[in-house]
Symmetry: C2
Subunit: 195 residues, 2 copies
């Protein structure tokens, strides 16, 4: 019998930065300061915070998730994108070609991003062993049923499976998606295979 139930975690606004952008924002030689491990092995929340500036508004003190990455990327909800005045595309992490940018303001400097503001597409992380247990493969699209504590049961119909040796079973949704299901904390969802 295959596993179906998966942890669903709420991913609030955050950013990933390059080492170069980190040094512009926080000064030459700056390094990330881990303060909390995340569910995905090797990923961590950092002490450093950055203001995200859009044409309409600024969201202050957005957290950086480490480690540094090859490209800087800002993940917001579509509600927040509207507040900023930025049209954000729904994308998988790392897929930022053709997206809109913003300005990042740190204590030591500013970075003008030409691209990189996205709303995260809902996805499930699995390592290879877990993928077998759940009978899914990398890039497969599945549905996930979310039981709501507030009579907002939802079925996400377009959820991408991501398989990587460093991953650990968890679905990530953003705060709009969490609120649409009336969630304020992680819950167990049920994976439903597409026909």
């Amino acid at each position: 019998m295959k596993k179906k139930d998966v942890l669903v975690e709420i991913s609030a606004r955050h950013m990933h930065v390059t080492q170069a952008d980190l040094e512009v924002l926080f000064g030459k030689g700056a390094t990330l300061t881990p303060i909390k491990e995340l569910s995905q092995p090797g990923q961590y929340a950092c002490a450093q915070r950055v203001d995200v500036v859009g044409p309409k508004n600024t969201i202050k003190n957005v957290i950086i998730l480490g480690p540094t990455r090859p490209e800087t990327q800002v993940e917001v909800s579509l509600t927040e994108a509207r507040q900023l005045g930025i049209s954000a595309l729904v994308r998988m992490s790392g897929s930022i070609e053709g997206t809109n940018g913003c300005t990042l303001v740190g204590p030591e400097g500013e970075v003008v991003l030409e691209k990189g503001v996205i709303a995260a597409k809902s996805h499930i992380h699995f390592n290879e062993e877990e993928a077998k247990e759940y009978d899914v493969v990398d890039n497969e699209v599945v549905m996930v049923k979310i039981p709501s504590p507030q009579e907002r049961d939802l079925l996400f119909d377009d959820v991408v499976i991501r398989v990587h040796p460093n991953f650990k079973a968890a679905m990530h949704i953003d705060t709009d998606e969490a609120n649409a299901a009336g969630l304020t904390q992680a819950v167990m969802g049920e994976i439903v295979k597409k026909q």
Copy 2:
């Protein structure tokens, strides 16, 4: 063959007020000033705007929808409730017993609400003839499939049918729910009967 496709409209934050509260906020003898008709016959957006004040923040210039009602009620998204610092329950319009309150600030006065802040439960308005065409009855719970323009297809699993002679076929979702489906404007959804 029964109809299945229904207009899905996005309902942004708004409030309904009593005549008494209207006069506290806008002065003795104040009346609502309609500026735009809504999809539901007899309902209209008003020129009057009111600040909604919570423990953490204020949302300025929230629109009043008319006509006046027997109870004042503030409808926000759960994202906005969190910004205000208010825990909002998901409720059908008019069902405000046991909900939290807030302070309303108008140009002429303030109203402290003991209750009335809700996030709207998703629902579909039908008049009696339409309900027959769609083969649904008042208070029935159905599912509604929403096609996303941004790869965020969703199935709302807990949508209440409301039948009233003054209604006209339209489903209402809030901005969190719209963003969770990647919607920025009204779309056609598909009603799926529960087994």
